[in-house]
Amino acid sequence: MDFELDDDERALQDGIRSFLTGRFPIDTVRANEETGGALDRPLWKELADVGVFSLRRDGFGMVESVLAFEELGRTLVAGPLVATHLAASFIDGAGDGSRVVGIIEPSEPVTIVEHHASLDDVVLVRDDGLFLLDPAALTVKTSAHPLDPLTPVSTVADVPDGVRVGDAEEAIAFRRDGMVLTGALQLGLCLASIELARAYAMEREQFGRPIGSFQAVKHMLADMLTRAEVTRAAVYSAAVNIDGRGDSTDLVQTARMAKILAGDSAVFCGKTCIQVHGGMGFTWEVHAQRYWKRACVLDTHFGNSDHHAEAFANAL
């Protein structure tokens, strides 16, 4: 047993991180936030070129994918990253970045599709299987003010049946892997929130000293780090198990564990990051709000943490 990153895994993560740091600084990532959040296709292609969408087709596993997605989450890169990655196994062009693939999970009280205007394909995920839809054939109403300005949302009326591309078993695996990859994005959000809050706590002075020297502030940051590190163990464990190097007898339950921890932690770290920033945290300018908003978006993907907490109990 060795539940630490090996040299190859570390090199892969470092590589993705330095690529993203160079090509996806926050100002680039948020460039379209005032103009509807349309995806920048050349940048999407660059993501594909480093293998973000095709990792598992290129001989890598869920572990490597999770390490890459953790970095994507940290960078706040927007777009249907998980859906496109998962669709790469059955849609030509998803892996190489020439087709952007979104997802519809029929849900209550409304069914939402994200990034509708930027999509080439939509995968409809239902209990009985996976189905391919043409985004142009959907009747949608796009919100002028999405919660996360980088995640445009549209309600979908009358979801069509589409063309079957996977059976019920494949739908289970699709959701399961989607939970774990989303968990990795959420882990990245936690880490970015901590970095931002830490930097502010070191630099901002009140009462003649950095606010990070006050225990009340320290304890908020300690709680963020604590939750992030437990989340990391959960997400990595789910990935290792999916790759067949674990001891879990129920991969869906293990994926749920990851999604519950990651969902709760990302929202917690996002809101605590805002709190550490005080009044500035409530401004548009400071990025704290962006982490919290993205955390709220991702919690709804593949079932939120409440949903999975109940499902986890039902499987006991």
Partner: protein, 395 residues
Amino acid sequence: MDLQFTEQENSFRHDLRDWLATAIPLMPAEPERNDWAARRAYDTTWQRMLFDAGYAGINWPKEFGGLGASPTEHLIFLEESERARAPYVGHNFVGLLHAGPTLVTEASPEQKAFHLPAILRGDHVWCQGFSEPGAGSDLASLSCRAIRDGDDYVITGQKIWTSFGHNADYCEMLVRTDTDVPKHRGITWLIVPMGLDGMDVRPLRTMEGSTEFCEVFFDEVRVPVANRVGAENDGWRVAMVTLSFERGTAFVSELLQSVELAHDLAALAKKITRNGVPAWEDAGLRRDLGRMCAELDALWALTKRNVSQAQRTGLVGPGGNVFKLSYAELRQRLGDLAMHLLDRASLSIDDVGDLPTHAHVHGRIHALSLGIAAGTSQVQRNIVAERILGLPKDR
């Protein structure tokens, strides 16, 4: 990353499992909670059985009689022992996990030769004299005084939270040997035989009703200078060396017990009715319990990360603080859920009717100690913030 065990680790597990299956039935029934003489005999009998089978001092180096097992094998040892419901380390805790490892690195050859085999065999029970009424979170401010007089130190002062103090043979003790230097630099580490003239051990009853803890009073107690470990005034460093023996396995038994308790709660909720229907029909209760079970599984995963870290570097690192903080709070939430589920049945620590009240209520009380013992959650948060995140110290 790989969560699968090697062939060697698997064979260690299977041999251990076979041995536990034959050894545990040979043990007598577990004694009453506060019958300390009987409990000492029980705990040391088990230790002797471990010794005879070659499992004593699992993490101690081979040259000092230990098994020299890897952190992963230590994890397996604790996991298998818990699953087989083997006796706990009990009275042997301080000797095996605290004083012994310290002696291994810091003691003289004579001290090692006398003490180490006796700890491994279960012949000597050790206790710890570190904390004082005035020195808890700020341990280095301890004031129990030791004044040099010829070949002796003369000790006057008080220690507290000394587990098994009334039953121990030796005490690992921190004393103040210099009052004129910064607090960390005037402390000395001593081996103190129990029962010396001028020593008074008084049981300290906890909110559980247990008298495991003691207060120990010293009135001019004479201890030979030869009992010193390390140099005079170097005791703080010696005590810190002990912490480096932690390999991420400190809470394995606790955690696995809590996982089992959480699963028992699900079964209990299916049995207990509210308004005529099983409590399990309450989706809120299921969500709460489901979330806690997922978090317990995540802490098991974190344990494996910490053990892997220790295996690679010899140190657990920040994961140890992270684990303790998370577990202390999670265990309390689990206890609260149990109390709510049991409702008025939780008013008895003894089992009520056919309900397993004791396990849940006693467990709830015990959980209150987890955020206090071995560094309060607030001190843990300071450590995480200052040592891991690098936030400025507030002095």
